[in-house]
């Protein structure tokens, strides 16, 4: 109980401090992803000339969910490492730090997701009964993002050099997750491997629900959920094992 209270307040404090650091404050939570999406639309929609009218919602959904996932990992990945000085002063559960990053990024995501829904509705992709499955899809993604954040947070203090690798690994993962272009065009040999990536099923399910108004492929979604839960369990175990070693590391 105390842990969740602290987690919630830390996330609130982080968001409040972040919005106090710039002139436009929390408007950046919307402006930044909007700019990011505009760049992708410019590159893939205009320059590469993808004419499919479904491409814009496809891209918006992919990028919105991806940015949430990515920010949890790159932000959460630093969390333990940055807080080692505090861990030397007081006993705190190590999970607090990466989870604070995940919670604050998730709160930001909620804003952005609402805007995404408004845009989709304005474009004619209205709500449907399939929206009932949406919480499950988002939960699967939250678990996967938490797992990623915890694993990178657990390892970065030992090998800070990994920070440079993680960013690029995430970029690589983006391209094999079907964020900016559909994976259906890929040759069969790659697709078997790519379907092991839980992100693929999550994005596909989200698009089924939001664009096509149909229930997700339950088998695909179940695989993603199981993959996410497994990843999270491994991550928690890893952090639990490594926790006593962090205060002894050179910062």
């Amino acid at each position: 109980m105390r842990f969740f209270e602290l987690l919630w307040f830390s996330a609130y404090a982080e968001l409040k401090a972040e919005s106090a650091r710039s002139y436009l404050g929390f408007l950046w939570w919307l402006l930044e992803p909007a700019m990011f999406m505009a760049v992708f639309y410019f590159a893939f929609g205009l320059l590469m000339g993808i004419r499919d009218p479904n491409y814009i919602p496809f891209l918006l959904i992919g990028l919105t969910l991806w940015q949430w996932f990515k920010s949890c990992i790159s932000h959460g990945g630093h969390a333990i490492w940055l807080n080692i000085p505090m861990m030397r002063q007081v006993r705190l559960p190590v999970l607090l730090f990466p989870l604070t990053a995940v919670v604050s990024d998730t709160l930001k995501f909620v804003f952005i997701f609402v805007v995404l829904l408004l845009i989709l509705w304005a474009m004619g992709y209205g709500p449907s009964r399939a929206y009932l499955a949406l919480p499950l899809v988002l939960l699967a993604l939250l678990l996967l993002a938490s797992a990623g954040a915890l694993v990178s947070a657990a390892i970065v203090p030992f090998v800070p050099d990994l920070r440079f690798v993680i960013e690029n690994a995430l970029m690589a993962m983006m391209f094999v997750s079907g964020v900016v272009f559909s994976l259906e065009a890929l040759p069969e040999t790659y697709r078997a491997w790519i379907s092991l990536n839980p992100m693929v099923g999550i994005l596909e399910s989200a698009r089924d629900i939001l664009m096509r108004g149909q229930w997700p492929n339950w088998w695909l979604l179940a695989k993603s959920c199981i993959g996410s839960i497994l990843a999270l369990a491994i991550a928690m175990l890893l952090i639990h094992r490594l926790a006593p070693r962090y205060p002894k590391l050179a910062v």
Binding site: F9, A13, A17, R21, L249, A250
Partner: protein
């Protein structure tokens, strides 16, 4: 003085030092055995780098010993006096007080109930509602001390800092801490000031190069330390 509530037996702690492939750990604490008694103030003396701060962190349970063991007679809340823990420059004094208090182990409603006391004690006035980055460094320390004093652990560990701020606040904060130590709180005090150790401690330990040299009365420990 009553019975021992915490016992360290041949405790050693190694830090993982510089990041180079193949480097080994650095033993900040090699071999320390000592007892802490209920209600006493134990002074810790020794030169820079002797391992005093590491010793406090072991007692606080922040560092687990790499060898030897720590045993407690009963569950204890042991804490270092941590000033300005988790302070964020862009948040107001109020938010920082809540955050810091919660990091120190208080529930949110507990710390919120004490906010007006913190505000008064820190003498911040209207600045309490202003962001921390508008404070002078003395004001930050005053707030940090006021919050830290809200946490009342079973064993308080003090690393050098007894009071903070300008002359007046320094006196007030030092006096309040002294009062606590005299009123039966168990305490471990690290200091380079002989006068403080002599005034406040019931016993003293001398640590050198990560090893315990002496555990004795304050007078004897200080005399031996200066004779060395």
């Amino acid at each position: 003085m009553s019975s021992s509530i915490l016992h360290l037996e041949n405790v050693g702690v190694a830090y993982q030092g510089v990041r180079r492939v193949g480097t080994r750990g650095f033993w900040a604490l090699e071999d320390v055995s000592l007892d802490l008694h209920e209600g006493e103030t134990l002074g810790v003396i020794g030169r820079n780098g002797a391992g005093k701060s590491t010793l406090l962190r072991v007692i606080a349970g922040i560092l687990q010993p790499d060898r030897g063991r720590v045993s407690l007679k009963r569950p204890l809340r042991i804490q270092m006096l941590a000033l300005g823990l988790g302070f964020v420059p862009h948040l107001t004094g109020r938010d920082n007080a809540i955050l810091s208090g919660m990091l120190l182990g208080l529930r949110r409603r507990e710390i919120e109930a004490r906010l007006s006391a913190i505000r008064d004690y820190s003498e911040l006035g209207d600045f309490f509602e202003q962001p921390l980055n508008t404070y002078s460094s003395g004001m930050v320390m005053r707030l940090g001390f006021s919050v830290a004093m809200q946490s009342q652990p079973d064993v308080l560990l003090i690393d050098e800092v007894l009071g903070v701020g300008d002359a007046e606040f320094l006196k007030k904060s030092e006096n309040d801490l002294r009062l606590r130590m005299r009123s039966g709180m168990t305490c471990v005090l690290v200091s380079h000031q002989d006068s403080l150790i002599a005034e406040l401690s019931h016993r003293a330990v001398w640590i050198e190069h990560g090893r315990l040299v002496l555990q004795d009365s304050v007078d004897k420990a200080l005399a031996a330390y200066h004779a060395a």
